[in-house]
Structures are given as C-alpha cells and as structure tokens.
Amino acid sequence: MSVGTESLVTVTATINGEPRTFTVPGHRTLLDALRSELGLTGTKSSCTEGECGACTVMLDGHAVNSCLVLAAEVDGHEVLTVEGVSVDGGTDLQQAFLEHGAVQCGFCIPGQVMSAEYLLSRNPDPSVQEIRDAMSGNLCRCASYNRIVEAVRQTATKRVSTRG
C-alpha cells in the first residue's frame, strides 16, 4: 500500500436498502458520513464517544454507535438508519412512543427507536428489566425512560399476539 497518498476512500454500501457510493476521508465516522454525505440527519450527533446512543444505527442487523464506526468500515455492508425503519404515519413502535408520552424533546428518540427495534429483533417479548438492560446505552435527558419502556412493552405484546 502507498500510505499517505490515499487518505480518501470510496465506500459502496447498502443504506436503507439502497446501494449508495460516497467518498470520504479515512477518519470520517459513519455518523458524519450519514449526516453530511448522505443527508440522513435522522441519526443524531451528540457525545461522539459512544456514551449517549443518539447515533445508534444497525450495521448488518446489529445495533452499533455510528460515531464509533468509520465510514470506510461499512464498505460492502448494510446500514439501516431511522429513516429506513420509518413508514408514513409511523410504525407501531413509533406510534406507541407517542401514545405513552415517550417523545419529549425528541433528540434521542431516533437512537432509542433503533435500539428498541434491535432488542425486539433479538428478544420479541422482553421484560421490563430486559428492556432497561438492553437500552441503558441510550441516554434520555428528558428521562422518558419509563415512557419508552411502556411503549416497547406494548409493541412487543401486540407484535407477539399478531404473530401468534
């Protein structure tokens, strides 16, 4: 390799189901690339050190902090952001958030939605304690925590019964 001359890297990845190609400096995080290069500002930037969870996305189906992933690392991989999980009128989970008063200032909510969807994909019927454990990397300063737990519980119950 010729180090020092190839600091830009071209990334081709599946973003929300669509193939996308973009070129970024080597240090550019996935978070910044989503927001700046791809205009996907639903993923929020806050602590930029993996502590707050506002930038949570799914990478190949796994929840990750997009501030701690280099954009270059997702070349050839699949990324799902809040824009990719949303539907017109809101998903059942997003509607449950509203019904239970979980959305206050809202800044952390896209990250909360992603962590909750990830949890439900792994554990379709989580207990309150399991939700608290699984989502404790997503800070909410409005402290809607119990509101969100209720919303996730309700969504789980509905989804399980629909499937059942």
């Binding site: 390799m1 180090v3 890297v9 240090h27 930029t48 902090n65 270059a72 990397g137």
Partner: protein, 282 residues
C-alpha cells in the same frame, strides 16, 4: 489525515503495522480507538489497519481442551456462546458488563485487552481463567500468559510489529467455579471503579483477578483451603493477599475507598465463585 487500510491477512496486517515511516494502529471494534478521532487528527494515527477482514483470522473455536477466541470475536459473540458461559462464568459476566449493547456488538475481547486500560473489564476474568495470548509477528508466533501480557497503563508486551491473533482459555478442571463483580458509580453503563474476578479451581487453587487498583490488572493467589464462607476469617487473609493492590485517587474514587472495595468485592466474588462450583456439581 488518516488512511484507512483493510488488511486481508495476518501477514499483510503485520507488514503495515510494522512500518516505521508511519504511525499505524490496529482497528478491531473501534470502541476505544475511534473515540474522538475526528477531534484529535493532529495526534491520530497515520494509518488505521482494519483487521476485521483477515482471511486467516480465527473465529471462536471450542475444543476438548479449551476455547480459542480469535481477534474479531466480540463481547456479544462471547455472551451468545453457551460453552463460554458454562466454562468461564467470570468472563461471560465481565463481557456482559462492557459498555452498552451497541458497544458489545463491536468491542472485541482482543481489542479490549490490547487497549490495556487498568480498568479493563475482561482482564481480571482472563487472569483467573489462566488465559494465554497468542502473538504473531513476521518472525513467527509466541504465546504469553495473560499475567505477563500487561506491562503498564495502556501498555502490553505486544510490540508495534506484532499482532495478538487469539486468546486461549484452558478448559477448567471439573469442580471449578468463577465469578466477576465490579463497582460502578451508577447502575447503567459505566467504567469500573474497582473490578474483581474470582476462581475456585477444582484442583484446590483459589485466585483473584483485580482491575482498576494498580497500573495493570493483577492476579493474586488466595491460600488453598481458605474458608470462603467465613467472612471474619477471610478478611485478614484478603488483607494480606490484596496488599499488592496500589489503588490511586482519581475522579472516579478515592484510593482508600478503592482499597476497601477491592476487599469487599473480593470476599463477595469468592463466595459467588464457590457457589458456582456447587451449582455445577449439583
């Protein structure tokens, strides 16, 4: 500027990491390396060598004699593996305490030990499980006991032209139990103020692994035969064996509190390890 380089094999990674004309850093989960990378580009590495695509990288492998944990194995992988949680409860418990779900989906065991934080969550467990660290270089491969791997805060015996390729854990002798506990400032995701792993081995040895109470994680032996159920008898024994701990005062805790807590957690963790041997025997 940082150059991103995706290595395709161990030898390829070693070649780039070993170059002297550029500052190269190995990238696994990135949960330590990438913290604030964009904010400190002046001190950032020149090349980030991504090791997640090595054709000859090892997976998580279970054999009759133990478990081999390759360099890309994440905390989430460890938690999902039934053998790891059966044979190495302390490691499974420690891996479950590393960061959040999203962090555990990225953070690797090898990355965790190579970062070599004195408060590294998995190190105390690896110490009591008798882990061996496989280190590759252009010259070949060497194996280092985990107790010799850490040489200081953020420093290991792995040189810049070397690469940790796996951590190996021997299969515990029958009747072994282990446990991990740590003290944090809040109940949610946090760094350890003090952490302790304990193993009560089936052959009678009793060991403690200690985190955040010295420049490196420590391994200490508790005299075989010590009654772990009698706190009054245990405390003076612990005072003696824990004298090697040299905790500091920092923003997370005072030195005296750390010293007291390492004893408290040691007593509790030993008891939990003992209880886990009884569970496995039952």
């Amino acid at each position: 500027m940082v150059t991103y380089y995706k290595a395709h094999a161990v030898a390829d990674a070693l070649e780039v990491l070993g170059r002297t004309d550029v500052e190269a850093k190995a990238l696994l989960g990135g949960t330590d390396l990438l913290v604030g990378l964009g904010d400190r580009l002046d001190s950032a590495p020149g090349v980030v060598v991504d090791l997640k695509g090595l054709a000859d990288g090892e997976p998580l492998a279970v054999t009759e004699s133990g478990v081999r944990i390759g360099l890309t194995v994440t905390m989430a992988d460890l938690l999902a593996d039934p053998t790891v949680s059966t044979w190495y409860p302390a490691l499974a418990q420690a891996a479950g305490e590393v960061g959040s779900v999203a962090i555990r989906n990225r953070a690797t065991l090898v990355g965790n030990i190579c970062n070599a934080s004195p408060a590294c969550d998995t190190a105390p467990a690896l110490l009591v499980h008798g882990a061996q660290v496989r280190i590759a270089s252009a010259a070949g491969e060497r194996v280092v006991p985990i107790s010799e791997f850490f040489v200081g805060p953020r420093a290991t015996t792995c040189a810049r032209d070397e690469l940790v390729t796996a951590v190996e854990l021997p299969r515990p002798v029958p009747g072994t139990g282990s446990a991990f506990q740590r003290l944090t400032r809040r109940w949610g995701v946090d760094l350890a103020t003090v952490s302790v792993a304990a193993a009560v081995h089936g052959d009678g040895r009793i060991q403690l692994g200690l985190g955040a109470v010295a420049p490196t994680p420590l391994l200490v032996d508790v005299p075989a035969g010590t009654d772990l159920t009698d706190r009054a008898a245990l405390d003076p024994v612990l005072d003696e064996v824990l004298a090697v701990a040299t905790p500091i005062s920092d923003i997370r805790a005072g030195a005296d509190y750390r010293a007291a807590m390492v004893r408290e957690l040691a007593a509790r963790t030993l008891r939990a390890a003992l209880d886990s041997t009884r569970r496995t025997q039952a």
